[in-house]
Amino acid sequence: MDIVSTLRVNRTERPFTADTRTTLLDALREQLDLTGTKKGCDQGACGACTVLLDGKRVLSCLSLAAQCEGREVTTIEGLARDGKLHPVQAAFIRHDGFQCGYCTPGQIMSAVALLKEGRAGSDEEIREFMSGNLCRCGAYPNIVAAIREVARLGSESQ
């Protein structure tokens, strides 16, 4: 059975039709052609599909698209503004926070939320609160360094 619904993604209303079982991840990728969000496990274990829902990080593979109607979804495609990378994206370049890039959209969305949650107080805290995002290339030291730097720059600018 299909549902007809509308998602508000990256500040734009996006209507779609899909099987009722469709996850937010599949709706983004298959119905709305936003393929930046990645499917790593489809079981909520790897974090590659992390997006922001009303500003909070969620695993889009464990969220039903139908439940997200009327809520604000932010994906990796909506993070850069006016052609300017988000500070977390820029820090990932400076610190070489990725290799193959497949987990990267999820890492970045997770890091953006983590900074907002105020969970970047120490390396240990960053590691703990990024532990839902697997990186098999093992770029963790550099991911931590990137987040640490953004947290520091953020607190300095306040």
């Binding site: 936003l34 790593g40 274990a45 990378l85 990932f92 990725f98 290799q99 193959c100 890039g101 290339c137």
Partner: protein, 787 residues
């Protein structure tokens, strides 16, 4: 004249980064073709069973399904997947690995049937409607059990479940060494099975074009050229010139995307048969049960020595669990890349190695990051520590005493069939690592801590590995049925921009950056003027792909050679345009100028324009400005180094905390230090994963108990420390720049460093070994044993 600083040696930011950071990387599942249909594979839930019947009717009747197929449908058009690297020099029993099981399934995950539908959800629904009746058979999952008399037999073609029996070394000399030994240390190791777990699972998208009769396959592949040849020459009824393979952005591989998989053939066949594009993307569960695993070796080892710590002989008997069928390069990997490397960084005069490849009712095992060398390095580095323990010597002293000395290079391990180790200075990496951790103070701290019940351990691993895999002649002796050169095609375009095509294939290693640094320097231009391409077999020279830490040493050298060929032509055309003799001009910083008259010059763009428009090309010379190289090196390269791990073990919970991790590696001169550090850090993370967290577990029926990222412990950020990296630089005489290779070094080195550290922490309690993964549970149990 524009001056550009050399790019080689700089931590240039990666050209790949912007697209990957913004969601613009195009991985396999991101590719959209109109009317794409989706394939779902019905797999065996049994480790070993006869197939009694397959009823596809209900599946075929589901709206949206366009086809349901079994082995019967393919028997005339799709042949079994070949093994391209049997063990060299011995008889191999290679039963057919059919793309769909016929009559019998041999592991959980064995493909039985498949569905194609117009929607992925419907394809999966239909797949579950296929009714397969089985008669379950006794299964065997453990290699040691599989070779026992009376064990369940997998294949008529492989009596006793044996693929091959392979040996290396000199048995008589080794027996004599043991007869003269003052001390013999014996040990048993199970180097456990690992699951590669790239974050992107595998997949294929096939599109048959009825107009051109050409099939295009987008494949998650580390070596599309090789997959193309294997498919067209051995598996599919598609002539080579009508088959094109494209590897898009790859989301990690670690070896698991080297191998030829059934879905590549199934989607290609189905697309042609049904006339629609057909896509297959593994679920994570399929990736666990049906994509090749790594390691799984059971080893019995004996080390003979004198009481002063001098090693005299080494005997190794290994059972390599190959899984249910011979994978693409498995028998060759578990022999040549393991057995010929067992002596590690040490001068051991007599060695005898035996390897039996064994079939079991498990997923296939093949090369996984390090491929043979981690198994060899873990073995020898654990044995060194056990010998030190036996002799009450410091493990540092035993290593130092037996290191191959710097003046012995090139060094060939006696009778082992390995190529000569190219260059090295092992003690320097050990000294530096010891210095970093302040070793003697650390030992004093350990001694002091023990009095207060602290369980601190220091683990050392001094490794050497073989990489830059080549040359063809040597690899072919090891069983590989193909070449092992690398290709590079460089074209200076009419406007002076440069397009370079490499036969290697980046899947996270940053080739677009590293190789652009090399090419830009050769031509004296900026990074932005160079585009590195790879992964598409159409119009590209045949290439071997990326694995075995070979891309820079082999592929980078090929690029340099192509650049040098083109530069000769640039000089000739430049001289002609400047109306002087070729010996009177020089090429520097992107222009050709008359020696001693730098004002009189032609830019690269001017020369390229003349070359392609054929205006100013010397008489008798062809137009154009391009060159292709197939570089087949004379030998391999041998990176080395020393890693030191310091751990604290919690006596109450058995938890292992890595408090310091120091790595001093020598991979030769580096092109991009940032990328090299990333490779080392990632490699170390995976090696620590094996030591402390990861392990695939099958039950006795062949069911994979660790079948998801929830049940199998891929290291998370919170599990790992920061690493302290340092390096020494010993150039290789083999490759351009003297670079050796870095993709696997961290993985090879780190596992024994961590294991040695944990055992060291507990050694005063009489504990001499722990089975990997060294989980808190295992440590806790060991601590409870009466001493």
């Amino acid at each position: 004249m524009v001056t550009t600083a050399p790019l080689v040696g700089q931590s240039v930011k990666r050209k790949e980064d912007p697209r990957l950071l913004t969601g613009n990387g195009r991985y396999l599942d991101d590719i959209r073709l109109p009317n794409t249909h989706h394939m779902a594979v019905r797999r065996s839930p049994y480790g070993h069973a006869n197939i009694l019947s397959i009823d596809t009717e209900a599946a075929a009747n589901l709206p949206g399904v366009v086809g349901v197929f079994t082995a019967e449908d393919l028997k005339d058009s799709v042949k079994p997947l070949p093994c391209g690297m049997p063990a060299g020099g011995v008889e191999n029993h290679l039963p057919p690995h059919r793309v769909l099981a016929q009559d019998r399934v041999r592991y959980v995950g064995d493909a039985v049937a498949f569905v194609v539908a117009n929607d992925p959800y419907i394809a999966h629904d239909a797949m579950e409607l296929i009714d397969v009746q089985y008669q379950e058979l006794p299964a065997v999952v453990d290699a040691a059990r599989a070779v026992e008399p009376g064990a369940p037999q997998l294949h008529d073609e492989a009596p006793g479940n044996i693929c091959m029996h392979w040996t290396a070394g000199n048995k008589d000399d080794t027996d004599a060494a043991f007869a003269n030994a003052e001390v013999v240390v014996k040990h048993h190791i199970y180097n456990q099975r690992l699951i590669p777990n790239p974050l992107e699972t595998r997949g294929t998208l096939a599109n048959y074009d009825a107009g051109t009769e050409e099939t295009t396959l987008w494949v998650t592949s580390q070596l599309p050229h090789v997959h193309k040849i294997l498919l067209s020459a051995f598996v599919l009824d598609i002539p080579e010139h009508k088959l094109r393979l494209i590897a898009p952005e790859i989301g990690g591989a670690f070896g698991s995307k080297i191998f030829l998989y059934a879905d590549m053939a199934l989607t290609a066949w189905a697309s042609k048969h049904l006339g629609v594009p057909v896509k297959f993307v593994e679920t994570r569960m399929e990736n666990y049960v049906a994509t090749q695993h790594g390691r799984d070796q059971t080893q019995d080892i004996e080390l003979a020595a004198r009481r002063d710590g001098t090693m005299l002989g080494l005997r190794v008997k290994s059972l390599a669990n190959l899984g249910a069928y011979p994978s693409t390069i498995a028998p060759g990997v578990v022999t040549a890349l393991f057995g010929r490397m067992v002596s590690g960084a040490y001068r051991i005069p007599a060695i005898w190695v035996e390897v039996d490849g064994v079939y079991t009712n498990t997923a296939m095992v093949d090369a996984y990051r390090g491929a043979g060398r981690p198994e060899a390095t873990y073995l020898v580095e654990r044995m060194v520590d056990l010998l030190a323990d036996e002799l009450a010597m410091d493990p540092v002293d035993v290593r130092r005493k037996n290191f191959i000395p710097p003046d012995a290079f090139p060094y060939t391990p006696p009778d082992l069939g390995m190529l000569p180790y190219d260059s090295g200075n092992y003690a320097v990496t050990l000294d530096r690592a010891l210095n970093h951790v302040n070793y003697s103070a650390l030992r004093a701290q350990q001694e002091e801590g023990r009095k207060a019940g602290r369980l601190m351990g220091i683990g050392i691993s001094s490794y050497v590995e073989v990489c830059g895999l080549a040359p063809s002649s040597w690899i072919q002796k090891q069983g590989w049925g193909g070449p092992m050169y690398e290709s590079a095609e460089i074209r200076v375009l009419p406007t002076g921009k440069i397009s370079a095509v490499t036969g290697s294939l980046s899947h996270g290693q940053g080739h677009e950056t590293t190789f652009a640094q090399i090419v830009a320097d050769e031509f004296g231009v900026g990074m932005g003027d160079v585009e590195i391409k790879y992964g598409d077999t159409a119009g590209a020279p045949f290439g071997m792909g990326t694995y075995g830490s070979r891309s820079l040493a082999v592929g980078g050298t090929a690029l340099q050679k192509s650049a040098q060929k083109i530069k000769e032509k640039i000089l000739a055309i430049g001289a002609n345009l400047l109306e002087v003799a070729p010996e009177d001009v020089e090429f520097d910083h992107g222009s050709v100028s008359v020696k001693g008259a730098p004002g009189s010059s032609k830019t690269l763009a001017e020369i390229a324009f003349a070359a392609w428009l054929n205006t100013g090309v010397p008489a008798g010379m062809e137009a154009g400005l391009e060159a292709t190289t197939y570089y087949d090196p004379p030998s391999c390269t041998f990176p080395f180094g020393t890693h030191i791990c310091v751990v604290d073990v919690d006596p109450d919970t058995g938890h292992v905390d890595i408090i310091r991790y120091v790595a001093v590696d020598d991979v030769g001169p580096v092109v991009n230090p940032m990328i090299v550090d990333g490779q080392l850090e990632g490699g170390i993370a995976q090696g620590i994963g094996q030591a402390l967290f990861e392990g695939a577990v099958y039950d006795k029926f062949g069911y994979l108990l660790t079948g998801s990222m929830i049940d199998y412990a891929v290291p998370r950020a919170s599990y790992l420390p920061n690493f302290e990296l340092d390096r020494t630089v010993t150039p290789s005489p083999i490759s351009a720049f003297g670079s050796k290779g870095v993709g696997e070094a961290g993985t090879i080195a780190s596992t024994p460093a961590v294991a040695n550290a944990v055992v060291d922490a507990l050694s005063h309690l009489g504990i001499r070994d722990l089975q990997m993964p060294i989980t808190p549970q295992r440590v806790w149990h060991a601590l409870q044993q009466p001493k």
